[in-house]
């Protein structure tokens, strides 16, 4: 008779450096991953590779001169950055924005949200292993939005479109008809895309129940945007602290309860539909009149401080600006959504496999330009 042999394998944890230039790290981001076989024990995020010192640079530029810098924070949603920054300076200087400009801002911000979510969902699916096809389906829609933005300001990615007191140029005549034509197209596309993926077995197997972020943890970490809403936090600044003319539109805030990767994907899909609803309503209501308040190119807001935040595509995007009545901000702080949302990653990946780590990371949707600033 043979004795039962101990067949346990002796393992020991090892450290793997992922990034900074790994295709799934969405920019120059590095994780020191401690692994036990394939299982993630811990990660240590390392970043700063893209730190350009934008907050310091802003102290040396005029208020208007800072706008192009804000484009370069979250370069996947530059319009929203422009928007939030201009709101903060307008709050500081007590500058009123004409109605027409408010509507133009809402339309562009919502189109930007759709464009951002196209990238976020596409990149997440890419990270889940659905290489190429689902990504480029969405990419094509994003291109159409970029075409619209090009029509507005001649730029496709970094717009520098908004100005303190309004926007840089009025809507060209062909813009609103083009948007009106685009809305049903995109709506049809979203339905079709959802049909492909909603019941997709692979996506469900990979994403459902993976990387759960509880409501309590999300609150404690200050998580905002779709990630928070997927965890059941009903919080959207467009409703909770309405800015611009958002109180005039009818739209819902999609939330989900589980806080897993699948829910984050679903929330973004639903948000695209809601954004379309807002665009549809605002396109109908755009009033005539000036597109910008007459303010000097070089402004000197009264000494003081202001914080303005918007519901950016990724979450709460805010600017805290201190003025000393000179031509440049005395201090400006950017409440970076990506950095703060990334904070909870470590809690979300523990115990999951390396392949899940990539997916969970992708599902948060970050831009390194905004993390490092």
């Amino acid at each position: 008779m043979t004795t039962t042999q101990e067949l346990t394998l002796k393992t020991e944890p090892f450290v793997l450096n992922m990034g900074p230039l790994h295709p799934s790290t969405h920019g120059v981001y590095r994780m020191r991953v401690t692994l036990d076989g394939e299982v993630v024990l811990d990660i240590e995020p390392i970043f700063g590779y893209l730190h350009r010192g934008i907050e310091k640079l802003m102290e040396e530029r005029t208020y208007t001169g800072c706008i192009p810098l804000t484009d370069r924070l979250d370069y996947a949603s530059a319009m929203s950055n422009n928007f939030s920054y201009c709101l903060a300076v307008e709050k500081l200087g007590g500058i009123k924005v004409p109605e027409r400009a408010e509507y133009i801002r809402v339309i562009t911000a919502e189109l930007q949200r759709i464009a951002n979510h196209c990238l976020a969902i596409g990149a997440m699916l890419n990270d889940a292993g659905a290489l190429g096809t689902p990504f480029f389906y969405l990419w094509r829609q994003r291109e159409k939005i970029y075409d619209l933005f090009e029509m507005l300001c001649g730029q496709r990615v970094l717009y520098n479109y908004m100005r303190i007191g309004g926007v840089s140029q009025d809507l060209p005549d062909e813009f609103l008809p083009a948007v009106k034509k685009f809305i049903p197209q995109l709506r049809h596309f979203i339905d079709e895309y959802e049909f492909f993926l909603k019941q997709n077995e692979i996506l469900i197997a990979r994403a459902k129940g993976v990387g759960i972020l509880s409501k309590e943890l999300a609150t404690n970490y200050g998580i905002s945007g779709p990630v928070a809403r997927a965890s059941g936090i009903r919080w959207d600044l467009r409703k909770n602290d309405p800015y611009s003319v958002y109180d005039r539109f009818e739209f819902d805030i999609p939330t989900r309860e589980n806080g897993d990767c699948y829910d984050r994907y679903r929330v973004r899909m639903e948000e695209m539909k809601q954004s379309l609803r807002i665009v549809e309503q605002s396109v109908k209501q755009v009033p005539g009149g000036p597109f910008r308040t007459e303010v000097n190119q070089v402004i000197r807001p009264p000494a003081g401080e202001a914080y303005a935040h918007i519901e950016g595509p990724k979450g709460e995007l805010g600017y805290y600006i201190v003025s000393d009545n000179s031509i440049a901000p005395y201090r400006s702080h950017i409440r970076s959504t990506s950095l703060i949302n990334l904070g909870a990653l470590r809690q979300m990946v523990k115990g999951w496999k390396v392949a899940d780590l990539i997916l969970i990371f992708g599902s948060i949707d970050i831009t390194m330009g905004e993390v490092d600033r």
Partner: protein
């Protein structure tokens, strides 16, 4: 939304509970004494009717005479926000108590302030540079920083 409190009421509640903790009260912000910060924040976070459970951001401003650390808290339940400031007058070794024990989101933001402004957060579990590298000379967001 249930009855929400204005910043003024919060300040009066705080000063009743922690006498001398509030140095100055503005319209929507209050200047808190550095040593009272953790207790005041804990009260704001846990007290019934306040529930400021969400930390929006932490940042710091250099005013030459002093550094001002700015905190913004939000109560998701009552949909109210409040801004708190703490001043430290030392230029050589400015320090503020850490809020990482209450808000885990404070971890990286305090590291950022430490990295760029050079303010130490007492009680922070892992206070090291976050964007710049260890050994970098100086704190770039300070007004007297010289490249």
């Amino acid at each position: 939304m249930t009855a929400a409190l204005s910043a003024k009421e919060i300040v009066s509640q705080l000063s009743a509970r922690f006498p001398g903790a509030i140095e100055e009260a503005g319209l929507d912000s209050a200047l808190v004494k550095s040593e009272s910060l953790p207790a005041a924040a804990e009260y704001l976070k846990t007290a019934e009717g306040l529930k400021y459970e969400y930390l929006n951001y932490i940042t710091a401003v250099d005013y030459y005479d002093y550094f001002e650390v700015v905190y913004m808290l939000t109560s998701l339940e009552y949909n109210r926000s409040v801004t708190f400031k703490v001043r430290c007058y030392s230029r050589d070794n400015p320090s503020v108590p850490s809020l990482t024990g209450l808000y885990q989101g404070a971890d990286w933001q305090e590291r950022e302030v430490y990295d760029l402004m050079g303010i130490t957060f007492e009680g922070h579990p892992n206070l090291k540079r976050i964007f710049l590298w260890e050994g970098y000379n100086g704190y770039p967001l300070r007004k007297d920083w010289n490249r």
